[in-house]
């Protein structure tokens, strides 16, 4: 029998609805596990045990009274600490915001609460969602549960760690250049960057307005679909929010992939970037799985990956500096070195370069849209390497396979597609057309169900962790 902390949302929700699993019992299991293991994983900046138990008791009473709200009712989740929480500090993992207590929940947090989700706590992040794993911040960086000497990826590092380690059933992340999909990849979970505009960003500390996405991080694609159902929706007060019909994401799952056309931008993974051989082998093997599921796989060519990465870097740095310049000029010492320098670099981008980057972005969006007239999905590895040793990874160096989808706003999902010989997760990225998140999630779900990678979990006990 699956331990409570390793149930998926789909499994736990069915039990909760049938009243064979108590949300209070489930929440206690997570809080106990956080108390036992998190000192060595650093996923949480602020566990919210008392509040979580109060919410769990309320959920239990509502369900007992026949008022089951849906699949997230009674489900314990964590929030990256850039999601505003009313009356609860939201720090961005930074000394600058260590006393920042918002008065309102982020729109997505309010939606999760309305759906009956239990908020377990606030999760570790790279400082203000940029930079990298840092040791000069008020809290230590999160560690990879598959090997605590390794980087869990970022910037939604605590979210990736918490879900992989069974310290939360799901978590919220954000993604400006790969910050959901990167940690999802290195922690071996499913992480979905929705189409730009599907989820409100209001109440999430911004990094780069035109590239920021909120999104779910879960053990499976199916769970991401269940989260999307609650999270997606128009927000008239978010300038980037899209007014579109919301599909039934979970209903779109299941069945084969007959007729689905997959395009592999071969230049991304074989010439523009040198992938680790184990990553490339896992990717090629995954394409055979998709073929066996009825899809067709074709190689295509897109503009150089470095162009997507460079334009994304310029826009990120310029927009982030527009937000942080006021503080970086006055109190730079309140930032860690990595975050401080990455954002400061934005001070040196000219108006000409920023506007031309946005012009080039428009061109690249058109090129990808044209390519996606002949294919339904784009697939590539999520990260070209597996998780390196903590502290050594610099996200500002080299081309990135995740950034093209921030540039274009297309949906992209990371799913685990294997393990390296060292036992570290490897992942596959599935991109789709705008607002075809349901197809992306369907493909991820079909892959997970056709393979056995969802049955492997990191081996975690307090003793085992201490020995690492």
């Amino acid at each position: 029998m699956t331990e409570l902390h390793y149930l998926t949302i789909a499994e736990a929700s069915a039990k909760i609805r049938a009243k064979s699993l108590s949300p209070v019992e489930l929440t206690r299991a997570y809080l106990d596990r956080i108390a036992t293991l998190d000192a060595q994983l650093n996923a949480y900046l602020l566990p919210l045990g008392e509040m979580a138990l109060a919410q769990a008791r309320q959920a239990e009473a509502e369900i007992a009274a026949g008022n089951w709200k849906g699949p997230l009712h009674g489900i314990p989740i964590g929030l990256k600490d850039i999601y505003n929480t009313a009356g609860i500090r939201t720090t961005g993992h930074s000394a600058l915001f260590k006393d920042h207590v918002p008065t309102e929940d982020a729109v997505t947090v309010a939606k999760l609460k309305d759906a009956g989700a239990i908020i377990l706590g606030k999760l570790s992040t790279w400082e203000f969602a940029i930079g990298g794993a840092s040791f000069d911040l008020p809290w230590p960086p999160a560690r990879n549960p598959w090997n605590t000497a390794h980087d869990p990826g970022g910037s939604s590092s605590g979210s990736g760690v918490a879900v992989a380690a069974g310290l939360a059933m799901a978590a919220m992340g954000t993604d400006t250049g790969g910050s959901i999909r990167g940690p999802a990849s290195w922690c071996g979970i499913a992480g979905h960057k929705p189409t730009y505009g599907y989820l409100s960003r209001r109440g999430v500390l911004p990094l780069a307005f035109s590239l920021d996405h909120a999104g779910p991080m879960c053990w499976t694609s199916e769970d991401c679909a269940l989260m999307m159902q609650v999270l997606a929706g128009h927000d008239p007060l978010d300038a980037g929010s899209a007014k579109v019909e919301i599909p039934d994401f979970a209903a779109a799952l299941g069945g084969d992939l007959k007729g689905v056309r997959i395009g592999v931008p071969r230049n991304f993974v074989e010439t523009d970037l040198v992938c680790d051989p184990e990553v490339l082998a896992a990717f090629n093997a995954s394409m055979e799985v998709f073929t066996s599921l009825g899809a067709t796989v074709t190689d295509i060519t897109l503009p150089p990956l470095s162009l997507f990465t460079d334009v994304n870097s310029m826009i990120t740095a310029a927009e982030a500096y527009a937000i942080h310049g006021q503080w970086l000029r006055k109190t730079p010492e309140l930032y860690g070195e990595r975050g401080r320098l990455r954002i400061m670099a934005g001070a040196f981008i000219s108006a000409e370069a920023y506007v031309n980057a946005q012009r080039e972005r428009t061109r690249l969006i058109g090129v990808v849209a044209e390519a996606m007239k002949s294919v339904d999905l784009l697939m590539m590895p999520t990260r070209h390497i597996t998780a390196p040793v903590l502290g050594g990874y610099d996200s500002s160096v080299g081309p990135s396979l995740t950034r093209p989808f921030n540039m274009t706003g297309n949906p992209a999902l990371s799913v685990c597609n294997g393990f390296s010989s060292a036992g570290m997760p490897i992942s596959l990225q599935i991109g789709g057309r705008p607002f075809e998140d349901h197809l992306v999630l369907k493909a991820g779900d079909a892959f997970e169900k056709a393979t056995s990678y969802r049955s492997a979990r990191p081996r975690l006990t307090a003793t085992a962790l201490a020995a690492q």
Binding site: S210, L307, D310, V311, S313, M314, A317, L328, R329, P332, E337, R340, L341, R342, M344, A345, G346, A347, F348, I349, S350, E352, A353, V355, N356, A357, Q358, R359, E360, R361, T362, R363, I365, S396
Partner: protein, 56 residues
């Protein structure tokens, strides 16, 4: 203008030991800017073109 002068002009204070790291990051961004600042049609619009909706 030297890099030190650019930093001062931006109103930033940077520790001496951080200057080479910041300069390297800025060099990368300058190279990226050179890629996009090439010849373009004057009519090419950036992504942020204003899109208004009529009042309903």
């Amino acid at each position: 203008m030297t890099f030190d002068e650019r930093v001062k002009a931006a109103g930033l204070t940077v520790k001496a030991e951080d200057m080479p790291k910041l300069e390297a990051l800025v060099k990368d961004l300058d190279a990226a800017a050179a890629l996009v600042n090439g010849p373009r049609s004057y009519a090419e619009e950036p992504l942020c073109a204003l899109k208004l909706q009529p009042a309903s």
